[in-house]
């Protein structure tokens, strides 16, 4: 993680006569601003308080233990895993197809495909939520985990496309030509040569999509029928004071999970580049 010597030298050259604005301080203040609320909630999850009030009366692990007795909560968490798995798998596969098509081919509709694959990012989620809600209603598709996963696959697609596209651009097409000169068909070349080379980026894209889905609530509220994902369940429980401490404990636990996954995705990507 050290910069090459050239970059260092260049940085120093510019550094001559730079402003005295304490940017390091700005960064530190930002980090404090970002972590303090989470830290307060983290500490609070171990408190015996049953409402969102200070000061903390005492400390306990009861809320964490109670997670495993709450059947609904565990079901919701399991649903989230299924939805995230489906959405991430679909989004990553489609993102890969978009990436290869766009980087390796010139065809009519290429620009439109790029625009479409990125478009879900620039439409407010409630618009998409309403749209899919009405579509499934018209088609008589009952709302379930699958409808949530379908919605999440659409909003995760821009992320998968972006990650895979940037990796594919850096991949030398001569490698594919070599494989085909040696007699491999194009699909075989993709499977045996391109996919392994993309490996880490694929995993990173998949994890990113999984996290996007796992944490998403605005779309899921509209598309969840009886199968609630964890954020939908949490959203519904937030108005009930007595279950609040357990909900916070579970949310903290899952947060540790997604943060770990994010770090893994990030490390994979920075190592493969």
């Amino acid at each position: 993680m050290t910069a090459p010597a050239g970059a260092r030298g260049a940085g120093r050259a510019i550094g001559v006569g730079r402003t005295r604005v304490p940017l390091g301080l700005a960064y530190v203040l930002m980090i404090v601003f970002l972590y303090l609320p989470i830290a307060v909630l983290f500490v609070f999850s171990f408190s015996t308080n049953t409402t969102l009030r200070f000061a903390i009366q005492g400390y306990t692990l009861d809320w964490y233990a109670a997670i495993f007795e709450n059947e609904q909560l565990l079901t919701a968490a399991r649903n989230s895993l299924v939805v995230g798995f489906l959405a991430a798998t679909v989004a990553t596969s489609l993102g890969l197809a978009v990436g290869i098509a766009v980087v390796r081919f010139r065809f009519a509709g290429r620009g439109l495909l790029i625009a479409l694959a990125g478009a879900p990012l620039v439409v407010p989620f409630i618009m998409l939520a309403v749209a899919l809600f009405l579509l499934f209603n018209l088609l008589d598709v009952p709302r379930s985990m699958f409808t949530i996963a379908a919605g999440h696959s659409v909003i995760a697609l821009p992320y998968a496309t972006l990650i895979l596209l940037s990796r594919l651009v850096g991949l030398d097409p001569a490698i594919e030509d070599a494989a085909m000169d040696l007699g491999a068909s194009y699909p075989t070349t993709l499977r045996r040569v391109v996919l392994p080379l993309l490996g880490p980026s694929l995993l990173s894209a998949w994890l990113t999509c999984f996290i996007v889905s796992f944490d998403e609530v605005a779309l899921a509220i509209f598309l969840a029928g009886g199968d609630q994902t964890f954020p939908v369940f949490l959203y519904g429980q937030l108005r009930f004071a007595q279950t609040l401490p357990v909900m916070i404990a579970m949310a903290v636990l899952l947060m540790l999970g997604t943060v770990t996954l994010t770090l893994i995705a990030f490390l994979i990507r920075s190592r493969s580049e």
Binding site: F33, I38, L113
Partner: protein, 285 residues
């Protein structure tokens, strides 16, 4: 044996179909439903397509006011997040050097943590007996707890700025990394001071990134309904809450659809207007 050209079909068609079926068609469905004249759910027998729903929205000042408030709040939130993120991104791009990656990860970890949890954290901080009031009263800074901080427009703005700020740093950081260092050196050689270099080179070259940040926060925030329903109270609810209500309790889908279409149109007009005002290509060149 499948050639390259033949493979293109297998690559391009599935994503096209998926996006048409689950993105383009549904948006068309909303537009179609918004033209149904009747109230309630979907009723194709209520009469010919009409602009009744739009007329009703446009003639209800409360709806339009809420749309205006939501656009205003989204503007404040996006602008604040961009302005707060800029110096942080600048630090990462120009001062952090070898440790930039680790500092960037540290910045992004909160963004990867649960969205609802972060909203909850602010509820806990801003509540009447929340952490902030507790610190204020127990340190003797104030004798009585300050009025209710949560359940207000301000609470929604603070919470959403908090939610978006780490993400906002990313496009700006990417833009600042692309600022050609030799331009800066050349300017320094020609006698330009640090502030001149910043104003004449760095700012113009990073403006596209800052604008991208602004819109990536602004667009989703206009349609936000989850955070306002948790920390907004009656004052802080947004246009998205009205839409959601028409699809749940109020159960008037055509009217809700018309409101959603109007929101998307408002967003599109604002985005196009902004792109017109700031010619991105000229700024980048």
């Amino acid at each position: 044996m499948l050639g390259r050209r033949g493979s293109l079909w297998f690559l391009a068609v599935p994503p096209y179909l998926w996006l048409v079926l689950l993105f383009v068609v549904p948006l068309g469905v909303v537009a179609a439903i918004s033209l149904l004249p009747g109230a309630g759910r979907i009723n194709f027998n209520a009469g010919w397509p009409s602009l009744n729903q739009y007329q009703q929205v446009l003639e209800t000042p409360a709806y339009l006011r809420r749309l205006g408030i939501s656009v205003g709040m989204a503007f404040v939130i996006a602008a604040t997040a961009t302005i707060l993120a800029y110096p942080v991104a600048y630090f990462l791009a120009f001062r952090a050097r070898g440790r930039a990656t680790i500092f960037l990860i540290l910045l992004l970890v909160p963004f990867a943590s649960s969205y609802l949890l972060r909203v909850m954290a602010w509820k806990l901080l801003l509540g009447r007996e929340g952490a902030i009031n507790w610190v204020l009263t127990s340190t003797g800074l104030t004798h009585e707890p300050a009025g209710l901080l949560v359940y207000s427009q301000a609470a929604v703005v603070i919470t959403l700025v908090y939610v978006w700020v780490p993400f906002a740093a990313l496009p700006i950081y990417a833009a600042l990394q692309r600022v050609d260092r030799s331009h800066l050196e050349a300017a320094a050689d020609l006698g330009a001071g640090p502030w001149t270099r910043f104003g004449r080179i760095t700012i113009p070259m990073s403006l596209p990134g800052a604008l991208a940040t602004f819109f990536m926060v602004f667009i989703p925030t206009v349609g936000e309904y989850v955070t306002p329903s948790l920390v907004g109270g009656t004052d802080g609810i947004m246009y998205g809450n009205l839409i959601q209500d028409f699809f749940t309790r109020a159960g008037n889908w055509p009217l809700g659809s018309a409101m959603a279409v109007l929101m998307l149109l408002a967003v599109l007009v604002l985005v196009l207007l902004a792109l017109k005002l700031v010619d991105l290509r000229r700024v980048a060149a």
